[in-house]
């Protein structure tokens, strides 16, 4: 009887397409909103995750998240290096100076100062120039999006000058840094250069970035560092989560997105579920005829489920395709760069749609099961 189920489904093209599009649209809306939400949250940890060599971040105990750094004494670096299990430890400066261009444009910027000797944390993806050129005097690297903010309308080029706190930085490279949460330019420079871009030079140490020796668990190392130095030590992924959770707790982000996602969920559920339920109700007379002709209840249930899963799968596939296409285009745009369709949201949306379909089928099937086949004798 499967082919009867399919023929019933496809017979009314308009209703069939309506069903498929209801599910596709809800899928798209859900995947789109949850992915953007996840992408924006991840941006709060961009600068942490971009330092791919770091395993442990050490900071002032009162620092809660990346953008809230309290300076440590310069001696902290040596104290961390003295902890057994540390293979190497380097300093990292984070500042928020205002950068000006000779043409009069200015923008608050995120500056990362890298260890002069090793340049640990230098941007890996370069659009122009190379990160090794940071060794040149007064050199800075600016990210592509930041370049367009500082030099609007100008083509990407090296050699431009930025002035910060009466100090000059010469652009020697343009990077593709991960997008930060706020749309500030992302600058990289040597530590000794960067500290001068904002205020005085001493005791500006923001973070000590650590790599562990072989054979020591990172959590063990963090505990040791804290015990020995009194500083806060976090594994890289823990620190990234700290940032994400800080923003979740302290901003309107979850509420705003929560509302959109809830609306998408409710509208999607109601529209998709209702459309399918009505589809079955409209076909009750046909189900009744089949029932009278001796089609058993389990067979009728199988038919309804087959119809539900057919439209569900096609709709979900279409919606996911639409979402993928959306991000395929949007991730090329500067403001939405790095925000992609992630499998977690696809899985989440898939589970939601499965639930909707199961619920709608359950309600529809109940109507079919309690259906009195005698009604078909009535006109």
């Amino acid at each position: 009887m499967n082919f009867v189920a399919w023929k019933m489904l496809l017979h009314d093209r308009a209703k069939y397409l309506g069903l498929v599009f209801a599910i596709a649209f809800s899928t798209f809306l859900l995947e789109n909103q949850t992915s953007i939400f996840a992408g924006i949250l991840k941006r709060t940890a961009s600068q942490i995750l971009d330092v791919t060599d770091a395993e442990v971040w050490v900071m002032e105990p009162s620092s809660q998240y990346f953008d809230d750094t309290k300076p440590m004494r310069d001696t902290a670096l040596l104290r961390v290096r003295g902890v057994p299990g540390v293979r190497w430890a380097v300093r990292l400066y984070k500042g928020l100076p205002v950068a000006r261009t000779s043409t009069g444009h200015f923008a608050q910027s995120i500056v990362t100062g890298l260890d002069d000797a090793t340049l640990v944390g230098a941007p890996r993806r370069m659009v122009l120039g190379s990160w090794e050129r940071l060794r040149e005097p007064d050199s800075v690297i600016v990210d592509r999006a930041g370049y367009f903010l500082l030099f609007p309308g100008e083509p990407l080029a090296l050699g431009g000058r930025l002035e910060m706190n009466d100090h000059i930085g010469i652009i020697v490279g343009i990077s593709e840094a991960s997008a930060p949460f706020v749309s500030f330019p992302v600058l990289h420079a040597r530590y000794s250069v960067a500290v001068n871009f904002q205020g005085q030079g001493r005791n500006q140490l923001s973070y000590v970035v650590v790599r562990s020796a072989d054979g020591i668990a990172l959590s063990e190392l963090c505990a040791r560092i804290t015990a020995q130095t009194g500083l806060r030590a976090r594994k890289t992924d823990e620190f990234a989560w700290d940032c994400i959770q800080y923003y979740l707790r302290n901003t309107g982000l979850p509420v705003n997105f929560g509302i959109t996602i809830a609306i998408a969920l409710v509208v999607g559920t109601v529209v998709a579920g209702q459309t399918f339920y009505l589809f079955t109700v409209e076909h009750l007379r046909q189900f009744g005829t089949l029932k009278a002709l001796g089609v058993s209840n389990p067979r009728l249930v199988a038919m309804v489920l087959l119809q539900a899963f057919t439209v569900g799968l096609i709709g979900f596939g279409l919606g996911t395709g639409m979402a993928a296409l959306f991000f395929e285009v949007s991730h090329l745009k500067i403001v939405t760069r790095g925000i992609t369709l992630i499998w977690q949201t696809v899985a989440l949306t898939g589970s939601c749609m499965l639930l909707v379909i199961l619920l709608a089928s359950y309600l529809s099937v109940r109507r079919v099961l309690v259906l009195d086949p005698a009604v078909i004798f009535r006109s």
């Binding site: 009887m1 082919f3 009867v4 023929k7 019933m8 496809l10 017979h11 007379r285 046909q286 005829t289 089949l290 009278a292 002709l293 001796g294 089609v295 058993s296 209840n297 067979r299 009195d372 086949p373 005698a374 078909i376 004798f377 009535r378 006109s379």
Partner: protein, 241 residues
């Protein structure tokens, strides 16, 4: 030869309870013999459709006994009742109740498919039967493209295809003109009857009575009159009085 296909005794059926309670069947005694075409007449609302539904086991009766071919189907377990209905009953409804998404062939094949027949075999049988019923050039047509008479012939084919022992028809010719009605009745009489098979037809159309071997008149939920053809000259002939 003279075994009853359907035998009902003191059949009762009511709908609703209390103030809204309606007694529809008030003790129906009825017999339809195998090998015969039995007509059921009666004014609108007297309970004919309800009665057919009870015989078909599509509706539970409130009291009394129904025996199909000597067997009280209410004593049979539910799952087997579905199988029994599938194997032994065929229906022709006033509204053809064809599935609009299926072609004539597919519609006619539904009872075989429901019984688990292979699709190829079922379609072959359906095509053969429809061709015999004069629909050879309409095999792959959807019901919406068929005339009322053609639709009812497809529905008749659906009732006949699995060669059920009992065919129940509720005003099968009501929506047809006289000639199309005659054609459907001829089909039922020719292909639906055998010494061990029976057809029961509810109708208002007295012009068709010459097909009947036996006529039962129903009024107000009871059988009020039965007329039978002479069993010796058991031929289609002029209407019974």
């Amino acid at each position: 030869m003279n075994t009853p296909a359907v035998r009902c005794q003191n059949l009762q059926k009511h709908f609703g309870e209390g103030d809204t309670r309606i007694e529809v069947l008030r003790g129906v005694d009825f017999t339809a013999m195998a090998g015969q075409l039995t007509f059921l007449l009666g004014p609108s609302g007297c309970g004919k459709t309800t009665f057919l539904s009870v015989i078909a086991d599509l509706l539970e009766c409130s009291g009394g006994v129904v025996k199909l071919f000597g067997r009280d189907i209410r004593s049979v377990p539910a799952a087997e009742r579905v199988r029994f209905r599938r194997a032994n009953l065929g229906f022709v409804f006033q509204q053809c109740n064809l599935l609009p998404s299926l072609t004539a062939t597919e519609n006619a094949a539904v009872p075989l498919l429901a019984a688990g027949a292979r699709r190829r075999d079922a379609f072959d049988r359906a095509r053969e039967l429809l061709t015999r019923l004069g629909l050879g050039d309409r095999l792959d047509t959807l019901p919406s493209r068929l005339s009322g008479g053609q639709q009812q012939r497809v529905a008749t084919a659906r009732a006949l295809i699995h060669q059920p022992r009992l065919i129940l028809c509720d005003e099968p010719t009501a929506a047809l003109d006289h000639r199309a009605g005659e054609a459907v009745m001829e089909l039922l009489a020719a292909a639906g009857l055998a010494p061990d098979r029976a057809v029961i037809v509810v109708t208002h159309d007295t012009r068709l009575l010459h097909f009947a071997h036996s006529i039962a008149k129903m009024d107000d939920g009871r059988i009020v009159e039965v007329a039978t053809r002479d069993p010796v000259s058991n031929q289609p002939g002029p209407a019974l009085s």
